[in-house]
Symmetry: C2
Subunit: 496 residues, 2 copies
């Protein structure tokens, strides 16, 4: 890509100024329409050090009302310090509907630098590139307007600019060792940029700007941005098609075929609980020390016993090492972003445990059944979620998903009991009763969800919870087994 | 405090277990009432390393539904790395109404450690203690239930515990050099803890727990927490009284006495704008390099020209070094916290500029006039805001506040123009017209605000904006002058 890039003829400043002025006017109009139509825009600017990303952004935003854009430049943290998946800073920064975000170097630069520094293996680089493809597609399919620009300059040009920056006391501090290193290693960077850009040219295409010619670059960027928004305005907010990807799946039974009779005796329950909680507590120490992130997802019928189950799992954990995230219906600022955003922002740090009381699977249950999203949206979600969870397990996270299961009679009994016990009444709402009437539709949705999203790397477990005590013991055993395995694997890796 | 602390007699495990069980039951009931009444609770746990903060928290949360509490342990970042005011991690973590938060060591530990390490001067320690007093009072006055516990053990006990931890491979990694250093320096810590606790025993009192006796500590903590919540439930949500504190103030004129005639010629405007923006751009480099945080606050009449003014100030800034925060009416999760929370979470990093388009002063304007808060609340706010801003300037921030001022006729003219220009119609709403009818009430509120909150460290500037161009030039000049002064002062400090 870069290597075939042809520099265009010297620029005529005068005519460019006129062009740029006109384009600005045009862009303002488009942006206003974009705001009214509540379209989100993400502009990723990558490029060589000193290629002028900052000043280009400046040129792009001058005519924009500051209330409607923001500029993000995620600090590039060294791998060993980073406590989150590598897409985390970008996924947390995506703009809300009607806003435009400029990202000053992002996921591409991240991969390229770390790869050249051998901070990540070739395989890891491949995985990250796959994640990038998935991330960009999910944004596009979620109605985001994504524009990717690369500011290109030659080795000589870069050296010259660095020299000028270094020359003035005002700007000397801006020249980092990294920049000088990049100039020395220009050709290796060129090769790697090209390679990564080739592989990330779909679903969102790259646009290379000749950054030596500053005004040309501004003109071209303005043109591209305006065109991109115009296209979206004509076609209306894009909704991605459902797609098929084969993830290695675990066979799941239908809910109706699950045997809910298992129970546990009070005596044994107490004994087991004590033993398992003690073990889990030890393991929490281990995974904390080895910096293994853990994500426990709870879904299930109302009154199935999620809360009590979570409490028994949480009890032995060091309170400083876990968080419980109760997931209610999204707040306005959450609704205004891609649906996974509010979960990205709640991911645990490495070595920590995040327990989600209800999860992103709301997309294919309540949002599907209540019509909060389009059919295409929830049908697409199965694979989007599988991708999201693979990104988490690629990062090294243990991801376990529990469907806390009961039958309708048990639910009715518990609803009635809640209704009749004053200190439990707050737990039961009219909505619970309404949902109960939709049991068959929910069962169908859940069966489909379990079938399509129980991946080998992030499997579902149906927890028989007619006997809550039995359910707690079973959940604890599953968590413990998974953490023991994770610790072993982590050790193997260290040794290899 | 600690030095006079008397250890109570050896504990009788049996009777304690019974007591604890009973207290748990009681607490559960109180917590439920607390949730229903939407009271926020903040429990600060300080104490010696290895005193058992973690396990105490564990004991406290066992009986709590995980959806209603969270545990926070802010990473103690070394001063030179920290990019925010020292209260920032705590202020950003405060719980929302109806939730309980456990803070595993916080602002007290922060001050004590940094002081003993001589990472902060005695004066800085004093300033921080004052900030702590202000912060705790503001939480209490905002209806927060705050409980402060200190877990106390002797030097021998601490050594013993560290040894045990060190003895087991499972837990060895938990023993940090810091911990050993604290044990060696036990007496200096004891003295300093005492000193700081003396000074932070108001408005929220400290409770010292004998942490050698684990069960006694649990019992006492449960008792204190239950009592605290009970008291709040009886008295209802606390609303603090307005209070008088003398801040050094800058004399401000009444709005009606401001001469709005000044104008600037197009020619001169262009010339000046260019010159000043170039200068501001240089200064942005300087403050970025010197890590000086800058906070620009914009308030003013609708259609006074805030947006255009902000744009002219933002234009020359490096987009990577500033953010514009448009402040609309608070979102649900913001309404559910102390009113300054949504501004704490938007503070700039050192070296960055945050531009607030409307600010925390909404408290004493719209919230006052629309009755969104009680009279006590907004009357208290003047001093709370002065304290907040002093905390920012103590941190080293430049805080400038602009009232963009026009007269009613000018506003009417601009409203009408917006109404009649299609691409400007989105800027004018019925609310603007409603607010306009309340001009006299607003003018009174603004006059009072300017009078009471124009402190020497964070002054107000009334910007005559009947001529928007004049207003922009004037604002730029003020910003430039302030940044030049800040750079000079910063240099002086380095030299001293």
């Amino acid at each position: 890509m870069l290597r075939e890039f042809e520099r265009n003829k010297p620029e005529d400043k005068e005519s460019l100024n006129i062009e740029i002025k006109a384009l600005r006017e045009e862009l303002i109009g488009k942006l206003q329409a974009m705001r009214e139509r509540k379209l989100p825009v993400l502009v990723l600017l990558e490029g060589w050090a000193a290629a002028g990303k900052g000043s280009l952004i400046k040129e792009l935003i001058t005519s924009i009302d500051p209330r409607f854009y923001n500029v993000v430049s995620p600090a590039v943290v060294p791998e060993n310090e980073s406590r989150y998946p590598f897409l985390y800073p970008y996924a947390c920064a995506i703009p809300e509907n009607g806003k435009i975000m400029f990202l000053d170097s992002g996921w591409m630069e991240n991969v390229v630098r770390k790869y050249i520094r051998s901070e990540i293996t070739r395989d890891e680089a491949k995985r990250r590139i796959r994640s990038i493809n998935e991330f960009e597609r999910q944004l596009r399919d979620g109605g985001y307007i994504v524009l990717k620009l690369f500011l290109h300059i030659s080795q000589e040009e870069q050296l010259e600019r660095l020299e000028t920056l270094y020359g003035s006391m005002e700007t000397r501090w801006r020249v980092t060792d990294d920049d000088l290193w990049q100039n020395r290693e220009y050709h290796q960077f060129l090769k790697t940029y090209d390679e990564v850009m080739e592989k990330t040219n779909e679903p969102v295409k790259w646009h290379i700007l000749d950054a030596k010619k500053r005004k040309t670059a501004v003109r071209d960027a303005l043109k591209l941005l305006t065109k991109k928004i115009e296209k979206a305005l004509d076609k209306g907010r894009y909704v991605g098609e459902p797609f098929e990807e084969k993830f290695p799946l675990v066979e799941m039974p239908l809910l109706r075929d699950v045997d809910l009779t298992p129970v546990i005796e009070e005596e044994e329950y107490k004994k087991e609980l004590k033993k398992l909680q003690a073990r889990l507590s030890e393991l929490h120490n281990k995974i904390y020390e080895r910096k293994i992130p853990v994500i426990l997802c709870y879904e299930g019928w109302d009154a199935a016993g999620k809360g009590g189950n979570i409490r028994r799992v949480a009890y032995p954990l060091d309170p400083r090492g876990f968080d419980v995230h109760p997931i209610a219906s999204p707040l306005p600022h959450e609704l205004n972003r891609q649906y996974l955003w509010r979960f990205w922002t709640r991911l645990p740090r490495t070595g920590h445990i995040a327990i989600f009381d209800r999860t992103w699977y709301g997309r294919v249950m309540v949002e599907r059944l209540e019509g909060f999203c389009s059919e295409k949206d929830w049908k697409r979600a199965y694979n989007e979620i599988n991708e999201f969870e693979r990104q988490l397990t690629d990062w090294g996270a243990v991801v376990l998903k529990f469907w806390i299961h009961i039958d309708p009679d048990t639910q009715l009994a518990r609803f009635t009991e809640r209704q009749n016990t004053p200190e439990k009444q707050w737990k039961i709402t009219d909505e619970d009763w309404r949902n109960r009437e939709k049991w068959p539709q929910y069962e169908e949705a859940v069966d489909e969800m379990l079938k399509k999203t129980s991946t080998k790397n992030a499997p579902w477990y149906i927890i028989e919870s007619n006997d809550k005590k039995y359910a707690r013991i079973r959940t604890l055993k599953i968590v413990i087994e998974a953490l023991e395995k994770a610790c072993k694997d982590h050790f193997k890796e260290m040794m290899s």
